[in-house]
């Protein structure tokens, strides 16, 4: 039986849904599962990690691991992978996963694949599928190494409604700090906003909103819907939105039930981050804007006129 180690995604003391999604896929493949969690003050998460579908929980829990640092965190993952004798190590889609996965692959002498959307066994070998070239193609890839380290694209695997798991915690020794790339501080730029990755509805703003007043208008639509509030890179570059809100190839990949793109042209790099949404609505004054090629419902019009009316209509149906 193949052994799959999933690296837990933890935010503010909560195990995120991606962990359960990955463990569900691992179990569906018939694998033995374990999870590794790294951080500080996470000792209480054993039952949550088991409930997410793991049968062993490796915990690196130490004050020195309070802030993400790719080198030491990767060491914890490597330690767990060796103890578990993992055939595969899977990361959820995250900046930390992207930073750790090649490190872990080198140290385990494994193959490395980022952004995978499918994985299967074919004639005893592992095959994966992943997008490349800004989503213009998919690659089907056969892994020729015995081991694979992979980052799974957001939304690729579904969480099972029922999933078995047993509590079997194993404590790891914390590694030494990386003094040559020393983490000093994390400046949070998102505040208490709804996390884009977890949001059921995402409203995103583009350059069509022009200025801070336009951004505020679109944000009020997001607030009415209790939606995550995202952005194009253009608005991040212009300083109107924080990096953490960028949707697209270099930002967050989202796949909500409803994505509302306001004043967004639909560049391929933006589409790469939201094309998996179930329903897409676009508001753009240019009828030729490429965003309309992917939108289920496209509203051709000036967002400064359309958004206030959308807000009113939504209030009517949401009362």
């Amino acid at each position: 039986m193949s052994k799959i180690l999933v690296v837990a995604d933890i935010k503010q003391g909560v195990v995120r849904s991606s962990t359960r999604e990955l463990l569900s896929k691992a179990k569906a493949l018939g694998a033995e599962t374990a999870v590794v969690a790294v951080g500080s003050g996470i000792g209480g998460l054993v039952s949550a990690l088991a409930a997410a579908g793991s049968d062993t929980q490796y915990l690196a829990d130490d004050p020195s691991l309070a802030l993400f640092s790719a080198g030491p965190w990767a060491s914890c993952v490597v330690d767990a992978a060796r103890r578990f004798e993992a055939d595969m190590v899977w990361f959820g889609f995250s900046e930390s996963g992207k930073a750790m996965s090649p490190r872990v692959a080198v140290r385990l002498d494994a193959a490395c694949a980022t952004d995978i959307i499918d994985v299967s066994f074919v004639d005893g070998a592992v095959e994966i599928v992943r997008p490349a070239i800004t989503n213009k193609v998919l690659q089907r890839i056969r892994i020729l190494e015995r081991k694979l380290v992979a980052v799974v694209r957001a939304g690729a695997f579904q969480a099972a409604s029922e999933i078995g798991g047993t509590e079997n915690p194993v404590r790891l020794t914390p590694p030494e700090a990386d003094l040559r790339a020393a983490i000093r501080n994390i400046v949070s730029d998102a505040g208490a906003d709804i996390d884009l990755a977890d949001a059921d509805i995402v409203v995103s703003v583009g350059r069509g909103a022009k200025d801070a007043a336009g951004v505020a208008l679109v944000k009020s639509l997001a607030d009415d819907l209790k939606a995550g509030f995202g952005s194009t890179r253009a608005m991040v570059d212009a300083g109107f939105m924080p990096h953490s809100k960028q949707v697209g190839q270099t930002g967050k990949i989202v796949a909500p039930t409803l994505y509302i793109a306001v004043g967004i042209s639909g560049a391929i790099q933006h589409l790469a981050g939201m094309k998996g949404s179930k329903v897409i609505v676009a508001v753009n004054k240019d009828p030729e804007a490429p965003i309309f090629n992917v939108a289920d419902y496209g509203i051709v019009g000036d967002l400064f006129e359309v958004v206030p009316i959308l807000k009113q209509e939504i209030q009517k149906v949401r009362k």
């Binding site: 935010k11 802030l67 993400f68 790719a70 080198g71 900046e95 930390s96 992207k98 930073a99 090649p102 490190r103 692959a105 080198v106 494994a110 490395c112 694949a113 980022t114 095959e127 599928v129 490349a132 070239i133 800004t134 193609v137 998919l138 089907r140 890839i141 056969r142 020729l144 990386d178 790339a181 020393a182 983490i183 994390i186 400046v187 949070s188 991040v236 924080p242 990096h243 953490s244 190839q249 270099t250 039930t257 409803l258 094309k275 179930k278 609505v281 009828p287 309309f292 992917v294 939108a295 289920d296 419902y297 496209g298 509203i299 051709v300 019009g301 359309v306 009316i309 209509e313 149906v317």
Partner: protein, 261 residues
């Protein structure tokens, strides 16, 4: 400060692309400098302008297009360029490229390696981190800000999961940059003219002091079996006209048809 910058020739992603029989149709494709590598070049030139850095660029790849890209970097302000051109590298993956770059690094005496965080053709985001592991150097990826403290120390910021992470880095180190770090300058005509006359050092693996076996050409970790055209999402309905009527109609459809509200 002695800086090594890596740039890759990639297919221009803005052009249409087609897949036939499991392979990409190469007719009509054009090749450009990887976008993230342009940011690495710009970062190096800004460091040179402020702190007297030496800038050497390396690109592994075949053909004329690679030289054009190196000349573009010259026109932006890079001082020296190396092309690694060897038929054995035609199917190279991130590990192979990293081992070749390791050789290039070891032949010089560099304080800093600046790379793009990701190549637009592979979308891997691996090569820089693998290179750092092979060299035993510290590495910060996805960097959006670099500040020089002194000859051996940098303050660096990167985009992380929960905000901007601030790190103190001791050189030598590998840094991979995001597009958000700067806006690459456009080469000027005069620069392009001068760049034409500048030499490019061209090496194959033998001249680099290594062999295809040593860099892992014969033992790939994975193999691309086929390329597949992704399912394209079809546009649905477009609504034009009176904003009030249109907005009301779309909200009704979202509730009753799409069941998304």
């Amino acid at each position: 400060m002695n800086i090594l910058i890596t740039v890759k020739k990639v297919v221009d992603v803005e052009l249409n692309m087609h897949v036939r029989d499991g392979a990409i149709v190469t007719d009509g494709l054009q090749y450009v400098m990887n976008a993230w590598d342009e940011n690495a070049v710009e970062t190096a030139i800004q460091l040179k302008e402020k702190h007297k850095a030496e800038t050497t660029l390396v690109s592994i790849g075949r053909g004329e297009d690679v030289q054009k890209i190196i000349r573009r970097a010259y026109a932006m302000g890079i001082q020296k360029g190396i092309q690694i051109d060897d038929p054995a590298l035609s199917d190279a993956d991130a590990f192979v490229y990293a081992r070749v770059l390791q050789k290039v690094y070891e032949k010089g005496s560099y304080d800093l390696v600046l790379m793009g965080k990701q190549a637009q053709d592979t979308d891997n985001g691996q090569t820089g981190i693998i290179l750092a592991e092979l060299l035993g150097l510290p590495c910060v990826s996805n960097v959006i800000g670099i500040q020089v403290v002194d000859n051996t120390h940098l303050k660096v910021s990167r985009v992380g999961d929960f905000g901007t992470e601030e790190l103190d880095v001791t050189l030598p180190a590998v840094i991979t940059v995001d597009v958000a770090i700067n806006t690459p300058r456009l080469p000027q005509t005069r620069g392009l003219m001068m760049a034409k006359k500048m030499a490019i050092e061209t090496l194959n693996l033998a001249k680099l002091g290594t062999t295809p076996e040593a860099v892992g050409c014969n033992a790939p970790k994975s193999r691309i079996l086929q390329f597949i055209a992704p399912e394209t999402r079809k546009g649905g309905r477009k609504f034009e006209g009176d904003p009030a009527a249109v907005a009301a109609e779309v909200v009704q459809l979202l509730v009753n048809e799409a069941k998304a509200l």
